[in-house]
């Protein structure tokens, strides 16, 4: 198959369509506006629906409405807009409405800036909205990886009936890379597979199939049962859906942990360090929830590993999960920037060198 040079945001949008998304609700915000723009042009060509909402709050509620009918629905935004979506995301999680949310992260807090950032890690994996819920959260490191994950993301959302979050930094959305796009999936709502969906129930139909898309369970007993169901589902996700990449880890002296674009810079640093005779490995979580604790621990537990360096485009958020994984067995250092100043290869090389010198 031929490679096409595509901008990340447009490639992600096209991949969502090829994965069966036929509804997009969103609101413009930099640096992801190319996604709604692409959807606005593309959806009508394939009989889909693009609708510009009055706000991110409305957009996620439109997602809740459309996805509750069984359709494959996607929305995208960037950090401040994703904050606005948190109420609706919590409702989608509570009502077990499978859907797809893309966050092209920019600098924060507040309006922050419009450059790339990884500052929404906590929001994505430690909560965001109210209540005990999780989102299956993918953090792609390349445009191609974003496409490849997109092709199964809806299947995962539907299998577990949970919202899936794409946690991409602004670089992934804004850069152009040669990509291979898969064929269009022929997705149709199957009421047998989605008995919960609102597809037009009437008296005489199976009473269990009356669609009630709902997150309120007013008595303590039923809310407990409901939460137990959610937690059982999250447990399955933790057991089955962890994804990560290991690079040059065997016998490494230092291990770098990083996600998204930063991990690619770390790889360049690792190559440079290798030339200097220093063996450094990388563990890159692809799912940041569920976080691959065991995988990180296993790599770090190698006797050759002296210490761990977590690198992020924030002030150290995934760092907490890395520390939980390492559990005090090795020293965990951090290097990162906020304000969207991307860590450079040289900075990472120098940081490892200073760790080696015991500074």
């Amino acid at each position: 198959m031929a490679l096409t040079l595509m901008k990340g945001s447009e490639a992600i949008a096209e991949a969502a369509i090829r994965a069966g998304a036929r509804f997009f609700f969103g609101y413009p915000i930099t640096p992801q506006t190319e996604i709604p723009e692409y959807m606005a042009a593309r959806m009508p060509e394939i009989g889909g629906c693009f609708l510009q909402a009055e706000s991110e709050v409305a957009a996620i509620n439109m997602v809740y409405g459309a996805a509750g009918t069984g359709a494959r629905v996607v929305t995208s935004s960037s950090s401040p807009g994703v904050s606005l979506k948190q109420e609706g995301i919590s409702y989608c999680a509570g009502a077990q409405v499978p859907c797809l949310i893309i966050n092209v992260m920019r600098g924060g807090p507040g309006l922050g800036n419009i450059q790339a950032s990884q500052g929404d890690y906590f929001q994505a994996v430690k909560g965001g909205g109210n209540g005990d819920y999780h989102l299956l959260t993918y953090a792609p490191a390349s445009v191609q990886e974003a496409i490849d994950i997109m092709m199964f993301a809806f299947d995962k959302a539907e299998q577990y009936r949970i919202p899936v979050l794409f946690l991409a930094d602004g670089i992934i959305a804004q850069m152009m890379e040669p990509v291979e796009l898969p064929e269009m999936v022929d997705y149709k709502v199957d009421p047998e597979k989605k008995p919960w969906a609102c597809t037009g129930w009437k008296a005489g139909d199976d009473p269990k199939k009356r669609g009630v898309i709902n997150s309120i369970y007013i008595d303590t007993e039923s809310l407990t049962v409901h939460n137990n169901e959610l937690q059982a589902c999250y447990k399955e996700v933790v057991e089955n859906e962890q994804m990560w990449e290991e690079f040059n880890c065997e016998g490494a002296e230092y291990i770098i942990t990083a996600f998204g674009t930063v991990a690619r810079i770390a790889k360049s640093a690792i190559t440079q360090l290798k030339e200097k005779g220093i063996n450094v490995g990388l563990v890159r979580p692809i799912t940041v929830w569920p976080f691959p604790y065991d995988a990180v621990k296993k790599v770090v537990d190698q006797p050759s590993v002296k210490a761990v360096l977590d690198v992020e485009l924030n002030e150290g958020q995934m760092l907490q999960d890395v520390k939980l994984a390492v559990n005090g067995t090795k020293e965990v250092d951090f290097f990162g920037h906020c304000g969207s100043l991307m860590p450079s290869t040289d900075e990472i090389v120098n940081k490892i060198l200073s760790m080696k010198e015991g500074k």
Binding site: E54, A58, N61, M62, Y64, G65, A67, Y91, G200, R210
Partner: protein
Amino acid sequence: MAVLFEKTKLLTDKQFHYCPGCHHGIIHRLVAEVLDEMNLQGKCIGVAPVGCSVFAYDYFNCDMYEAAHGRAPAVATGIKRAVGNDTMVFTYQGDGDLASIGTAEIVHAAHRGEKIVTIFVNNAIYGMTGGQMAPTTLIGQKASTCPTGRTEEWSGMPIKMSEMLAQIPSSYYIERVAVNNTANIAKAKKAIAKAFRYQMEGKGFCMIEVLSTCPTNWGLSPVEAIDWLENNMIPYYPLGVYRDKEAE
């Protein structure tokens, strides 16, 4: 034996939780009867709000959603865009939900001309949370968050949603009704039926505002509450058609 009356099959057998004298029960019945009479079962999806009618999904015997506070018109937009014109989509919302936290969603659903019907129950107070001031609370009316009575100076004049939404170019049909007596109940049912018909004909956004009592939070008996509604609410919120594009 001839059957003279049957409960509409668009209501479940679940017992309403509403207080004695509250008008939600009547309004639920009217909506359900109209859906039934128009043979819309199997072709309708409703959206319940946050507020006293939060459990409406347990009462309407069709596919139902429960939306976040104020967001029902956005949820209904998503549903309608997904199911298309053959399915009737309605929201059922109170004044705290629609006229306060949900103003953006209702205004823009009307602005886009969403082919949905909104049943807006206005009882001039927050019922579910126990009688706080709403944007619709009348001047001088006491509520737990305006214990000495609402003043214009502090909280502004009560918001008139039907009048406001009627100004939006894409609104198709907006009417305010009440269910305080038999004649008005009949008129309310007619208005609801017209709104549903317009939607099934693919016309634009329709909202029926229904003035309702809240004896519990008004601190009145059911009979006194009806008097209060007639003497205070109807004069400030006049009944009538505010927009009907078909008639224009």
